[in-house]
């Protein structure tokens, strides 16, 4: 067990240089703005004086190394600058909107895992069956779907043609009052206060964007599950297990699936990356008030502090998710920690 603990600590410490790298990249992006960053950060209506003020305020007159230290210090203190369009600190804006994005992303991920993994297993265990063909079609078609386009099609079909989906604007139809903020997740907050009507309405709003997003992530997951199961099932230890007369369910789950899980968990990291990126597009399509649409709105008005704050926040979120994946991996695979990586 102490070996596992050590591996966990080592893995946690490995995240530090990555986070440092993320901060460096985000700093470089901020400073690489075309022209004079001070002009951008001072805003549209700035005159000579306010630009000069901004320059001093941002420390742009100091050497690069010092600027970076100041920037890193600010990031550490949670200061991502002020948003031009909302007038609020960027961090505060992001925190307000983050739950909306997370609720959407996590729902989509759970949904696609629930479909993709069983589908992949079925396809691998019954080659040539309906499940196998379905899996193949989904895999090839799924990776070809532009998320924003899927969203538009779903809106057309379910909102315009069938009329079963609510108007694709935001997290809650305006006739409902949003639940008191506890976690910021509407589904959880509404459930906590027992307001099931609101819960239902929120779920209805959530379902189309969540499906859109999960259709996109389904493909890589199902593909990897199928491939990993196939390779696990054709390995020598499965033959040993079968030759020992173990039951098919034991062979499939305790032997094949546990081994197949390793590559699937690795793929999850890539899938997270896709999901967080696609999230931006889906939020725009469904006018979802998350951090993605916040960034898109900021982009339109050249609100760079907000955009870079968003990029940094997403990166940190992703690093955290990857960390969780790696730690899970450590728990499943005993070989990690022995191979010095």
């Amino acid at each position: 067990m102490s070996g596992t603990l050590r591996t966990v600590i080592v893995r946690l410490s490995q995240a530090i240089p990555v986070i440092l790298g993320v901060v460096v990249v985000s700093f470089v992006l901020t400073r690489a703005l075309p022209g004079d960053p001070a002009v951008y950060f001072a805003g549209m209506a700035a005159d000579e004086n306010s630009i000069a003020e901004t320059r001093t305020a941002l420390g742009l007159d100091k050497p690069m190394a010092q600027q970076f230290l100041v920037y890193a210090g600010d990031v550490l203190a949670g200061d991502l600058g002020q948003s031009l369009s909302t007038g609020q600190p960027v961090l505060q804006d992001l925190m307000t909107r983050l739950p909306a994005s997370l609720e959407l992303t996590l729902t989509a991920l759970v949904l696609s895992c629930l479909i993709a993994i069983p589908l992949g297993i079925l396809a691998a265990t019954r080659p040539g069956s309906v499940a196998d063909h379905l899996c193949r079609v989904l895999v090839t078609a799924g990776v070809s779907l532009p998320t924003f386009f899927t969203g538009v099609v779903l809106i057309y079909v379910f909102y315009y043609l069938l009329g079963v989906a609510p108007s694709p604007v935001g997290r809650l139809d305006f006739i409902y009052i949003e639940p008191d903020r506890i976690t910021g997740f509407y589904l959880i907050d509404a459930a906590l206060v027992g307001d099931w009507e609101t819960w239902g309405a929120a779920a209805k709003q959530l379902i189309l964007p969540a499906i859109t997003l999960s259709l996109f992530t389904l493909a890589p997951l199902a593909r990897m599950t199928r491939a990993a199961m196939l390779s696990a099932l054709s390995s020598d230890y499965i033959r040993t297990a079968r030759a020992a007369g173990l039951t098919e369910s034991k062979v499939l789950y305790a032997y094949a699936f546990r081994n197949a899980l390793l590559p699937v968990v690795t793929t999850l990291g890539m899938v997270f990356s896709f999901t967080l990126g696609a999230n931006v597009l889906v939020e725009k399509v469904f006018a979802w008030p998350g951090i993605g649409s916040y960034a898109v709105e900021a982009l339109v008005v050249s609100d760079y502090a907000a955009v870079q704050g968003f990029v940094l926040a997403m990166a940190l979120l992703f690093v955290a998710l990857n960390l969780i994946i790696d730690l899970t991996y450590t728990l499943i695979d005993p070989r990690i920690g022995f191979e010095t990586r």
Binding site: P17, V18, I19, G21, V22, V24, V25, S26, L29, T30, A32, L33, P34, T140, A141, V143, S144, L145, P146, T147, F148, F149, V152, V153, I155, Y156, Y159, Y160, S167, P168, F272, S273, F274, T275, L276, G277, A278, V280, L281, K284, V285, A295, V296, L299, V300, Y304, V307, Q308, F310, V311, M314, A315, F318, V319, N322
Partner: protein, 293 residues
Amino acid sequence: MTDLSSPSPRLNQDGALAHVAYVLRSNPVTLLAFCMFAVLLVMALFGPYLVPHDPLVSNAAQALQPPSLVHWFGTDNLGRDVFSRVVVAARLDLAISVAAVALSFAIGSVLGSIAGYWGGWLDTVLNRVFDTIMAFPLFVLAMGIVAALGNTVENIVYATAVINIPFYARLVRAEVNIRRNAGFAQAAKLAGNSDLRVLAFHIFPNALPPMMVQVSLNLGWAILNAAGLSFIGLGVRPPTAEWGIMVAEGANFIVSGEWWLAIFPGLSLMFAVFTFNLLGDGLRDIVDPRQRS
């Protein structure tokens, strides 16, 4: 390296052709993918000369017409012919993705080969850099780069290239690394090849098959990426015809039922990505010499 020593090189050529023919025959889907690719190429190369209407000329009197014999895909809110715009857009979308993938292929190959063959501090540094790039959700990083460098089509190409480099570099690194001490690499050294020659003429060509597959899959992904960026208003600006931006503009009309504005460019986008994905799977069978028999 193929110019020598085979008393009858024609025989090999026939073998290779026969192999391609065999793969295409046994896998009609690959054949279909090649046909689809040909359609895309024709659209990209000759699109502007083939289309019935000028893709940029607006005509308020003809706005929002549903598909008809005159306007196959209907007209948009400014009365422009959607079909012409969809066909013409192929060139821009393909150009962006091909340029981006070519850039990342070239840079990634060189960096990955060096890191995989010699290892050492360069390998460590590159690994850290790639780790950092991959630590961003890639689409978000592309957004950040385009926002920082400026809102132009070239910058979309650069951003797409940057986020793809780690994939190529890592793939090449792994492929080179497993072959670094392979018997044939050692044999090549015994034959008097320097390290650089062994890497360039013996190891790297063997890493190409998986690379070609990656290129094909990546082209589809690069198109998606570029279209996504323009969908949120980065890079391509109106009135330029581009699939992503057309879907974005059309999306405003979907709730009122004018579906053709968004659906046709969206379908073309899907068609292109689908083609490259199918092609990628098909190429795997063709380029791998071990599958020849």
